[in-house]
């Protein structure tokens, strides 16, 4: 690897001069600068990141925390799309992305924080993890620029998909289609689940819907089996709902199957709606009506906020950025044309 020393030798100047030339400083002669840069180019020079890092304490590298002991982040459409967008965003600004090593089995395993400091990440995006772990708390409290996705900490920047508005829009849409008996199979307890659930209740109240307790059920996210089971329970009620909301699109497929097994048709006999807007939901008939979260925007916001925190720590607001989703109108919710 050709270093600055090689260039300095080739040009007959000191390495300091080479450094300045390549960093485009201006206490250096124009002609000298030009010559040095040209020679550097010819010799195929590129900087040694490690050396630069050591000296400057900047890595132009951001960590991404994607824990998948329990959460299969990378293979989860929502997170994968957010990560994809995040990657594009930071790469365009000259940063690289490294995963924070979450394996506890690796040699010399340490905490997330130590790993981040050891690697010298300029910042870290906490995207998919157990936010209640003490390790995460330690990390966000450490002073390293940090942005979380879909979770709020005190004094930490966060990007959130607007679950309150999302659920409100979705339920309102369904209401406008004439549905009055709406069931909601919600996911396991989490901040996200709570937002959606309370928004569901509040919106229902505003719309004047009464939601019997047995219409509210629970099934883990992305668990088609569970959704299948709960759907059957709902269908077996004396007065079954005319529309079922699922924790996510994936679960909706489980409901889909259960409904088909009973010989019912979607949306003629019963309507369903998902949440997330994963790609495949738009590609199978009946296309799934769902609340499509704006993953591209979410990833972009996380990236931009993080880099802003890194580059302008003083002037960057510690805030929560809310990203709106929108109802994707598929064919899975019937218009049961209720005349008011």
């Amino acid at each position: 690897m050709v270093s600055m020393k090689d260039i300095s030798a080739a040009c007959g100047v000191s390495v300091a001069t080479v450094s300045k030339a390549l960093n485009d400083q201006n206490d250096i002669g124009k002609e000298t600068k030009r010559r040095i840069r040209q020679v550097a180019e010819e010799m195929g020079y590129f900087p040694n990141t490690a050396a630069k890092m050591l000296k400057t304490n900047r890595s132009y590298n951001v960590g991404v925390l994607f824990n998948h002991e329990d959460y299969s982040g990378l293979t989860h459409d929502y997170y994968a799309f957010v990560l994809d967008s995040l990657k594009r965003t930071v790469e365009e600004k000259g940063y690289d992305i490294t995963f924070v090593n979450t394996s506890k089995r690796r040699p010399g395993a340490t905490s997330y924080l130590e790993h981040c400091k050891s690697r010298g990440f300029d910042g870290v995006a906490i995207v998919c993890t157990d936010f209640y772990s003490p390790e995460i708390l330690q990390l966000v409290m450490s002073g390293i620029p940090t942005v979380t996705l879909d979770h709020l900490f005190n004094n930490v920047c966060a990007v959130m998909s607007n679950n309150v508005q999302g659920m409100q829009d979705l339920l309102t849409y369904i209401y406008k289609k004439g549905h009055r008996r709406v069931a909601y199979i919600h996911g396991l307890d989490s901040a996200v689940t709570q937002s959606r659930l309370s928004s569901f209740y509040r919106t229902a109240g505003q719309l004047g819907l009464t939601i019997p307790d047995e219409y509210i059920r629970m099934s883990p996210y992305r668990d088609t089996q569970g959704a299948h089971r709960e759907t059957l329970c709902l269908l077996d009620l004396e007065e079954p709902p005319t529309c079922i909301l699922y924790p996510d699109d994936f679960s909706a497929f489980g409901g889909f199957n259960a409904i088909q097994e009973r010989g019912l048709r979607i949306p003629d006999d019963i309507s369903i709606a998902g949440y997330d807007g994963i790609r495949v939901a738009r590609h199978i008939e009946p296309t799934l009506t769902t609340l499509r979260q704006d993953t591209a925007e979410l990833g972009k916001q996380v990236g931009e906020k993080l880099i802003s925190l890194i580059e302008h720590p003083k002037t960057t607001l510690v805030e929560t950025i809310v990203v709106e989703g929108h109802v994707f109108e598929g064919n899975s919710v019937a218009d049961i044309g209720r005349k008011e």
Copy 2:
């Protein structure tokens, strides 16, 4: 950040001794080593990766090339699952994963190779990219340990899903279900496509199937529109096939829709099969018969081979590792009980 210097001061020894103690060298007293390690622990010491890298030329960091200008890597089920497995594999061995920055718009954009050298990656996994680009060639020729997925270069380690065997198994399975008129909508030209297509023809020959030219059609991978269109063409033939193979599961959904539009039922009226075995295909009815690729194994093999190349460059074989898939029997291929 507490450094070795701090520890050496606290212990009254030299930094050299501290370094040796922490690296578990043995030209050092047992008691001294113990004491130093304890103090290091107490002071919350962790190594500065940049300094270590600079000195040792080892980063314990591998690059992953995931180009998504044209290929939507991260959001592609197949690649996402492989990456997930790769990540687990290398993390357990103490390596981190950094994406090779593929943005051409970033400040001071350079070639993949320069980026890799600059970052000091110990090796790089080339997972999802245009293998015909000169940049990739430059990278694999550079001498940096490299493993490719689903592409063969001379003298470069590769991990391949067995497309030949896979297609053979899938077609044979379909044949055994009694199908004699099988159409294949294949993907755009690539090494993978060619393997599958030639295996399709060869297997058909061995089984004594005659495949009319109009049964072979083309549609880009993961393009439901294209698959939809080509499916309609096939259905409109005078003698339509009894089973259609798609480039991938996603495309199969496009076919699925086209078939439903025509009022036909799967698998009663016509059978379909996908390729890949993405998760959702197992969760909607009719479940899709497909060739499920072993993404967990693929990722693991890429990771293990890469680390082996890094740690034992002399004794690691430059070879192609072939990973078998297997037919997933869904409900989308009818048994049309042909009596032989």
